[in-house]
């Protein structure tokens, strides 16, 4: 096992950057809720940094990356056992063996595990009981996230082996979280007075702040997934940035055309949509492809906003339109734009002469990830709802989460 200090330097920083994304997400969402619920939102996000990290050290990492089974990890690395010297960790053999300490790989992946369940909070904003949330993401981080991570990210996972590509978590993070969000939203129901009362964002500057932090952190998320400081990481940073930029533009253009104004919330949403869509592709495409992917993501996610109207669910802050749809779009577009010239470990997509094979694998990964996450989350959330209840009492919702769940007031 050779350790490269440049690669290690970069992945340490990338780990810090991804960590910073969760507070960023908290503000991205927190700005969009009503004033009486902002602390509730910030808390749910920040709490994931606490709970999920400890669970990851305890069992999550091991369940995701331990052992050779194709469907699930094992407990070899549970309770931080033997990670530091884990030559047996998948990824540490062969021509493309990792050149960073295994423990760093664990830390980097931990930050992904933290932010993924936090994404759900946007869908259930303003009504999810804090205790139910804590249990939900606790369970989820043990029986949903590590399993999908294993399938897709671990070289021993079955989707990985089949050739599905997911550079930084289009499926593992975004489709996974989006599907879970949809499941919980269907059970928890719409916000009180949804559709009657106006519920505009209470602090859009916070949303822009969150967007800035997310964009910044996403460079760690995507370029860090190269797990080295090399040309691949560089390609990923360029792709990531260009996709976000392009998606912001296309979202704004469509918004201007449809609703009459280009909004700051639209700029923020478009950028995030682009970041989501490029996530699976970041290390597998090149040239102007990220711009095209971004442009399509901006339009596609904007169009997906209408889903919740059509199907009458209350995905409060559009997790489904942005993360689920954006993740699916990115995963499938990779089947078109993937370019082996960019990454020898990748494949050629339809446009690069690779035929439909990759697109098929991507489609399978999308369906399987969505299906597994949605189903298991639906069951877990149902059980929670029938026992302690997912949703706060009506009065608590009226008075707001800040006061009812945390006995605090955001602004005095």
């Amino acid at each position: 096992m050779t350790i490269d200090s440049g690669a290690t330097a970069w992945v340490i920083v990338a780990t810090a950057l991804v960590l910073f994304m969760t507070p960023g997400l908290a503000f991205f969402y927190g700005g969009m809720v009503r004033r009486k619920n902002v602390l509730g939102m910030l808390m749910q996000n920040v709490f994931s940094m606490g709970l999920v990290s400890v669970l990851w050290a305890a069992v999550g990492f091991s369940l995701a990356f331990g052992g050779q089974n194709r469907f699930i990890g094992n407990f070899d690395f549970a309770w931080m056992k033997g990670i530091a010297k884990a030559d047996s960790l998948p990824g540490y053999t062969g021509a493309f063996a990792l050149v960073i300490p295994p423990l760093l790989f664990m830390a980097y992946q931990m930050m992904f595990a933290v932010i993924t369940p936090a994404l759900i909070t946007g869908a259930t904003a303003d009504r999810l009981k804090f205790s139910a949330y804590a249990i939900l993401i606790g369970v989820w981080s043990v029986i949903v996230y590590p399993i999908i991570a294993h399938w897709v990210f671990s070289p021993t996972g079955w989707l990985f082996k089949r050739g599905a590509l997911d550079f930084a978590g289009g499926a593992v993070v975004h489709i996974n979280a989006g599907a879970a969000a949809l499941a919980v939203v269907l059970i928890i129901g719409v916000r009180r007075s949804y559709g009657q009362e106006t519920m505009p964002p209470h602090n859009l500057p916070f949303t822009i702040l969150g967007t800035g932090i997310l964009w910044f952190g996403w460079i760690g998320f995507n370029a860090g997934s190269a797990l080295a400081a090399n040309g691949l990481a560089v390609q990923a940073i360029v792709n990531t940035h260009l996709a976000a930029a392009a998606a912001m533009l296309s979202w704004l253009v469509v918004e201007k055309a449809v609703a009459g104004h280009a909004t700051t919330l639209g700029a923020a949403s478009g950028a995030v949509a682009g970041l989501v869509a490029i996530t699976p592709c970041a290390g597998f495409v090149g040239g102007m492809a990220p711009v095209y992917i971004g442009l399509l993501a901006g339009v596609g996610c904007y169009a997906a906003l209408s889903l919740k109207k059509k199907f009458r669910f209350d995905d409060s802050l559009d997790v489904i339109a942005v993360h689920l749809v954006g993740g699916i779009l990115g995963s499938l577009l990779l089947g078109l734009f993937a370019d082996k010239g960019v990454n020898a470990l990748g494949a050629d997509g339809l446009f690069l002469g690779g035929g439909l094979r990759l697109l098929g694998e991507q489609g399978l990964a999308v369906i399987v990830t969505f299906g597994f996450s949605f189903t298991v989350t639906y069951v877990v959330a149902t059980i929670l709802d029938r026992t302690i209840g997912l949703r706060v009492a009506d009065d608590d919702e009226l008075v707001g989460l800040d006061q009812s769940q945390h006995a605090e007031t955001a602004y005095q």
Partner: protein
Amino acid sequence: MKLITAIIKPFKIDDVKNALKAIGVQGMTVAEVRGFGRQGGHSETYRGAEYNIDFVPKVRLEIVVDSEQVDQVVDTIVTSAATGKIGDGKIWVSEVERMIRIRTGEEGHDAI
């Protein structure tokens, strides 16, 4: 002419406004205020230090109307703002001697 002042629960503002619109009220002025009353406040504990927050958020409405309209407006507010729970708020009515529209300088009924 009368001034009707109503203190209501914040989340009722849309309902009250719509109900008033429906009976033809064309203007009102609204402010965010904090109320102290029977409803009582709540306590917040920051790092072990307990703070009693005696005041609860309320919304204050002011509506100037012709004297004949007072009863209807008051009733409408009562109906649309009530939840039956403590803290629903108060309405009080007082006399207005003059009312002027700034834009035109019109006075009295025309100014409303």
